[in-house]
Symmetry: C2
Subunit: 498 residues, 2 copies
């Protein structure tokens, strides 16, 4: 019998054994084999069927809302408000992918009829995206629902027609098991095959998963150490499957001179709300803040100090994060941080902090997970140079003046090359799930040209396929001549369904 899985209460630090066991390699292999068979069935069942499946899953999650939120709260200490919101987001995400399926643009269906070209005769060619096959999803610590078992990667993969095997994050095994049970039940209710969604537990199971020959892609939300370990395992496979890592970043936030002069207080208090949200454990936390080295900038810092005093010390997700946070903070004492309320010493509660400096040392360019922000006081003449030193980020924010602001415009041009989302006059911690969202950015924030949030996340689990001179009955329905329900490119021109 493999080792029992333990769950830890972050509020007390107490560890409890569960009825779950680490999944042994043979069971991982069986799950992947079932996922391969299920992927074929999910593909063949078509877009309408999968839209229904996702909707059934969303309904089932909401029906079990109370259980799920209570379980997740015990394991993450994120609190019922946040977790109820996260469950709502998760259900919304599943339903939005059902819309994506019904709409059908994601297929990129394209037909070139046979004809003459300057290169000579062209055969009939028809292309669309097809499911890649089973996907391995690594759940995140910081979003036990929206980026874990029932989360965005699972929704995108199932929408694509790929069965999913999720490696549960060790921070919330009971939540993962419960969500896995709910999704599997919904899959059965919807008539989906048994291997549609599986959950595996334990580090060894994760290693077996990325090495399994049926797995066609790995999606991961977490830190660089975990990502590197998985990528080393992938490099040992004969086939180089894609690794979609959403890895976090410092997410710079610039306050221009005009913005500081116009609304120092609002910016300062908003900033504290943003970098302490969820205990500062958002991958979009604004970790590096640039304010002008003048009276207006100092007023922003003063507003930060005042707001920070009002923040209760958040409870971090697990011992590893708690220890890393303490260590990072200890390494930065020379910056004489502004600190928030000291926690009472129970569990993984942490003291929020803000470092203020006139110099952006390289050591400050690394992400610190937890309720910490670094404020750099800049002189206007050095701003461009500072911005060019910033590493790639998921999101960069600019607070600019209410009308013309040359500093904002110049910064936007530089930051555009260093981020996947460029945000104005707001805070980056919310990541709306929508058609136009992009949650991904240049290295080190991610390692692909893809998003893990929003409808286009589906592209990660699809591969293109062309049919040449195919008999009509061999073609997928969406590529046959005549009226279809999806937008298509026909002989070069985009055609909407009538």
């Amino acid at each position: 019998m493999s080792a029992a899985v333990t769950t830890v209460d972050p509020r007390s630090g107490m560890s409890t054994s569960t009825d779950l066991h680490e999944t042994d390699p043979a069971d991982v292999a069986a799950a992947c084999s079932a996922a391969a068979a299920a992927s074929r069935e999910l593909d063949a069942a078509g877009r309408g069927f999968r839209a229904g499946l996702l909707t059934t899953m969303a309904d089932a999650l909401e029906q079990r809302r109370e259980d799920v939120v209570a379980t997740a709260d015990r394991e993450t200490a994120l609190g019922p408000d946040r977790l109820n919101g996260e469950l709502t987001r998760t259900a919304y995400q599943l339903r939005l992918f059902a819309d994506v399926l019904r709409e059908g643009s994601y297929l990129e269906a394209t037909i070139d009829h046979a004809g003459d070209t300057p290169m000579g005769p062209r055969p009939d060619l028809r292309r669309m995206l097809v499911p890649a096959g089973p996907v391995a999803v690594f759940g995140a610590s910081n979003f036990p629902l929206a980026f874990s078992v029932p989360g965005g990667d699972t929704a995108a993969a199932l929408a694509a027609g790929c069965a999913v095997v999720v490696k549960a994050h060790g921070s919330h095994p009971l939540t993962s098991a419960l969500c896995g049970e709910i999704l599997a039940g919904a899959a059965a209710d919807a008539g989906a095959p048994a291997g549609t969604v599986a959950v595996v537990f334990g580090r060894g199971a994760g290693e077996a998963l990325v090495g399994d020959p049926h797995v066609t892609a790995v999606s991961f939300t977490g830190g660089h150490a975990g990502a590197s370990a998985l990528k080393r395992l992938i490099a040992q496979r004969p086939d180089p499957i894609p690794f979609y890592g959403e890895l976090g970043s410092v997410n710079p936030l610039l306050v221009t001179s005009i913005a500081a002069a116009e609304r120092a207080s609002d910016i300062g208090s908003g900033l504290v709300g943003s970098f302490t949200l969820g205990g500062g454990q958002f991958c979009t936390k604004p970790g590096l803040v640039l304010v002008p080295a003048d009276a207006a900038g100092d007023a922003v810092i003063e507003a930060v100090r005042e707001s920070l005093a009002e923040v209760a010390p958040p409870v971090l997700l697990n011992r590893g994060i708690s220890d890393s946070y303490a260590k990072a903070l200890a390494g930065l004492t020379r910056y004489d941080p502004i600190v928030g309320t000291t926690p009472d010493g129970q569990g993984f509660a942490a003291r929020p902090a803000v470092l203020v400096t006139d110099r952006l040392d390289d050591a400050l360019l690394d992400e610190v997970f937890g309720p910490l922000a670094v404020v750099v006081r800049y002189r206007p003449d050095e701003l461009a140079t500072l911005l060019r030193r910033l590493p790639g980020s998921l999101v960069a924010s600019v607070h600019g003046g209410s009308s013309a602001d040359a500093e904002r415009d110049a910064a936007a041009a530089v930051l555009r090359e260093r981020t996947g989302r460029l945000l104005f006059d707001g805070f980056p911690t919310g990541v709306a799930v929508s058609w136009a969202q992009h949650h991904g950015g240049p290295w080190p924030s991610t390692d692909s040209f893809h998003t893990s949030v929003g409808t286009t996340a589906i592209r990660r689990f699809l591969r293109p396929m062309a049919w040449q001179a195919a008999p009509e009955h061999v073609l997928p329905e969406e590529l046959r001549d005549g009226t279809v329900s999806v937008p298509r490119r026909v002989d070069g021109a985009l055609v909407l369904p009538s």
Copy 2:
């Protein structure tokens, strides 16, 4: 002074020194730095400008047609007919990407206006694809134009707004230098920046290129050994840039029992034309042919034998390919091959050959570059098992009956999972450049979910980017409110330009 570059005449095997020199690392770095500056300018100049640039390049290539074809023929021995056709294809490809730019769907422009959602208020979000930055292109041996300096990767990258540094293939340095000169001249004529296209020479230059910090993606057409070496170098970078490898494959071709009975002779002669085309040095060469083990299948083999006798021994591209081909053939003598005409011993001429076997040994599942095909005689009851053993291929072909054919339909279902293009009743060596083309397939044929031929090849060099609550003047033109010239998704609905 670095080493002189030599050119080799494949018809004689004679090597000659050229005026070119291997590019030293400092010059590679300078080219990449210029490419980074040029990429910014190409992006800012807009789609219309880049469409004009590509058209100017196409015109310039055609104006120098005679020189280019003569130079390429001396270095590749592919012959003027083939090379004229390849130049036409190359110019067409550049012009097609100009169409892609003018049409603008490739941007995936998406606008979500601010509004309420079940998750709460959503900010204004606008997404589109933006150029990734400088691209390193590794030219192929077998297509000195269409997959080399002025080829599809260059066209796609420039269209995307990415400047290009091409590593010239050692088989055709003078052709590469000439094409580089033509493209650079056209770029200057079109008003593009100096770093738009550069060509570098020598293995060391290639190594420096993939390690250069400005390079954001590597595209490669060639064999697994070269690809693995480059990927090891990429793994040493701090940032994991994508490697788009188009690596070749066995490209199975099935002749069903009914097809063999209906048209053995046509299939046999067509097959010989296809697998010996360009000296059997197409990445789409049908290398593994399955024919029924019956009288009709034997008639296909007989037609192959007859056609092969008519084929002149092709001259292979270089000594490395020639030596590998001879070695591969020597390792397969136990299959008692049908052989074509023996070459006269000059240069890199090679003897075409067909192996016929009743058993698909694993050794026959590897690609042999050159004019060789393996014919496996199958029993109908073992066909499904045989097909499931096939590795991933760029293209798989099925010759089926003129009406109902259960064997064809069953094979299509199995082959679909093992290929990027599924072709019926034809031969795979032609790869039309079009909107619906897909040239890419499961490992080991490529290592990405992308194509290197056709309009969607542009996606490899683009990364998504979202703007949140951005002032209008900061947004790219295609994301501003009002009428634009590109299709967009607005609040979830696809809208064509009026």
